[in-house]
Symmetry: C2
Subunit: 500 residues, 2 copies
Amino acid sequence: MSDIVPHMLIRSAEQRPNKTAIVFQSREITFAELRKYAEKTAQKLAAAGAGQNIHVAVLAQNSASYAIITHALSLLRSVLTPLNTRLSREECLWQLRDCEATILICDEIFAETGKFLAEQLPDVRILYMSGAQAEADLFAELPEAAVELFTEYDSEAIQAIMYTSGSSGKPKGALITYGMHWWNAAASALNIGVYPDDAWLANLPFFHIGGLSILMRSVIYGMRVIIHEKFDPDAANNAVAEDRATIISVVAITLRKMLNALPENSNFPPWLRVVLVGGGPVPETLLQECLRRGAPVCQTYGLTESCSQAVTLAPQDALRKIGSAGRPLPAVQLKILQNGKETAPGKAGEIFLKGPTITKGYYHLEDLNASVFQNGWFGTGDIGSRDDEGYIYIHDRRADLIISGGENIYPAEIEAALLSHPDVADAGVCGIDDEEWGKVPAAFIKLREGAILTATELQDYAAQRLAKFKCPRKIIFTDEVPRNAAGKLLRRRLTELLPP
Amino acid sequence: MSDIVPHMLIRSAEQRPNKTAIVFQSREITFAELRKYAEKTAQKLAAAGAGQNIHVAVLAQNSASYAIITHALSLLRSVLTPLNTRLSREECLWQLRDCEATILICDEIFAETGKFLAEQLPDVRILYMSGAQAEADLFAELPEAAVELFTEYDSEAIQAIMYTSGSSGKPKGALITYGMHWWNAAASALNIGVYPDDAWLANLPFFHIGGLSILMRSVIYGMRVIIHEKFDPDAANNAVAEDRATIISVVAITLRKMLNALPENSNFPPWLRVVLVGGGPVPETLLQECLRRGAPVCQTYGLTESCSQAVTLAPQDALRKIGSAGRPLPAVQLKILQNGKETAPGKAGEIFLKGPTITKGYYHLEDLNASVFQNGWFGTGDIGSRDDEGYIYIHDRRADLIISGGENIYPAEIEAALLSHPDVADAGVCGIDDEEWGKVPAAFIKLREGAILTATELQDYAAQRLAKFKCPRKIIFTDEVPRNAAGKLLRRRLTELLPP
């Protein structure tokens, strides 16, 4: 039986009408205004065809408008599909088709891409936001319908379809419900607390769960969020110092940049009470510097499929448990299996998760859903272990995953693009270390006999098909891509073959 | 679909093994010990026949052992039925039969009552706790079974059947699920916060939801609770001052007594951060004194059926909204209906509640369940209104309800007992003001022609059938009990007929 709770934007607007909900570009929007704008936007989107279970894609930078649209869609119980703004046009097209969106909303920056997509998808209605500072009337050209809006969240209803890289080479749309958001917000509150003066900096993109979940927590807690278009170290430091952000979500690389941008001999202010660091372990030197300079680091391990945080390390354990992602959140169960059996402490295995914050599956991928769940436990594909005290260590993200500046990249997707070139006989992709991004993709290429193709030519070819961050930084021509007898790519061998 | 979360005692024991879970009679029990004791107790109860969906009644004063049994039953997924220790033997008998308990657990104090009940109910197995300070082995005479214990809470599973007074004259067993506890704990956390140093004083009886819910919050939050056998003003003040309780749950009368017991010119310490006051409005003079003496009062309105708090007033609103019970908790929806329509601000009507903290119904009272819910909304029978800002004012508990020192009394139950006397022709009961208890019951009695019966004789007769707090304090003999043409008792008329 699904749980029905109040629509939390309406609730927050009723109980904290004059409290600031959103800070964006030095402007403030109260919860009462946010509700008013979201309701108006909902009526306009309804006039454009949005409604219950209608899939609406959004291709836009972070903005207050993006937040308003997110809540407007929840008032209609339409399903939000946020598109990664770094995708190539071809990738956008593929996702729009895959999620069966009938409406696409673009901001000004992506107007050109919108036009291209509109031509390709004549059945998809494309809407353009009315530009900056137009929150009060986001779609000036649209009439308002007079539909009845939903005043409740249904825990089982789908709030969003969030695409994540797929090991098959195609992204998968993880189903995110209102219940997942609620439970995650509650579990996070029990874990790191909620204080009346809390403000969460949202500079992670809303097309990632780490960003989107902040918007939902904002209305569930009645909490201020500071929205940035994108990560910028000076702006982020300023959000803490001037806008008094108390919680920030970062990855190691962005945290490093924030520290570097901080004036020497200057520390983070005392109200910064939680620095949630996702996307892999924090190097010890960085951790030490954080603690010295007033950044209370909470390492965390989460997935799109777990609606952000699933495991979090408390700041007081940061030094005692270096390298650990912490312990499962209150509502989350975690087990580590090898050959179907739970591993002993210290022994690695695949991490399985269970709980109301975990996705029920991927959009229309029933075969995959059947294989990824075992008795209600979700197999993450990530490798980890736990110590005697139950602290979790992540050894390796899904074997073949490349994490580049917080973005997940599946080599299979890049290989598929490279293999589509007529001169490429075989291709294998792996991650190589990069000082700035952590990892970047590199490709081993076997050319067809007699073919002449330069690395630059192949990179240009890839750039037309793939998001920039997925394009191989390095091309290594080889006589043979290592495969086993069955023809399966030996991806780990590639790493060994890398030139020093 | 039900939500599955970890068994929260196990989780707290894993994550905070050495933290104090329970303080009782100057002894401390850690979460690891609480888990160990609860597991051992579960195995012993299993040996005595407890198991999934087995109904186990408990007749005992508050104690650490009571908490252990509560968690032991949750490990077996047995259903706890806490009996009100103030009930008469006949009332206990009735409830045991009604809830179909097959096991009854008594503490030493209620051993005599246990013996009586055992004779009456040969099919019910009676177990006696091993006495004070025996937490490590509560049932010394029982063997341990080796059954598999539940390691999860299922949100839809019944944790307890809690009896509440029924307007029909018979108590009703409200079904309390794990989900109700979880959502209530989460909503309360979002509302009044959870801090690492929190400790909740549990001196409300565990047979009331206000007491029981503290035990569940303790393991959901990983929070220390200080258990008192019963309310005592000096002990309560001491729990705050010495044991550093940060949250206490009181009713106006117990709060008054705590203030009176506090040395003059002395205030509550600053760590007392929430004083939750239920059971009706707090008089303004009391409120003023509380604020002056450092008791941050949060008035609240709750029911057994809402798993304690449903509406709570924040301390900062206490003076601005005198007399209000506050606003609905995050997960709770509230509406006020008169003749099926929502009332305007300031206009009174019946209070309806909806949300995952609200009961699904009463044990085996399907007809009542069908009538008490309207489209998923639970009709409380209580009368209230809301102001322009959405603050709720409770005008009157269920028209015929007498609240005496925090206990709910239904006149119909007393009338039924009085009418069973052969000399009584008619009876009508209402509440009269009482300085100590708020209200106490008074009875209008019409004797049969020629009968001679004194007030004391009738009170003695009632005392054999009813809990002491339900016995009429005052008997008023009258020629006629006011009834309408259809014979319906005009209960409000009784109040007017009271001698000044």
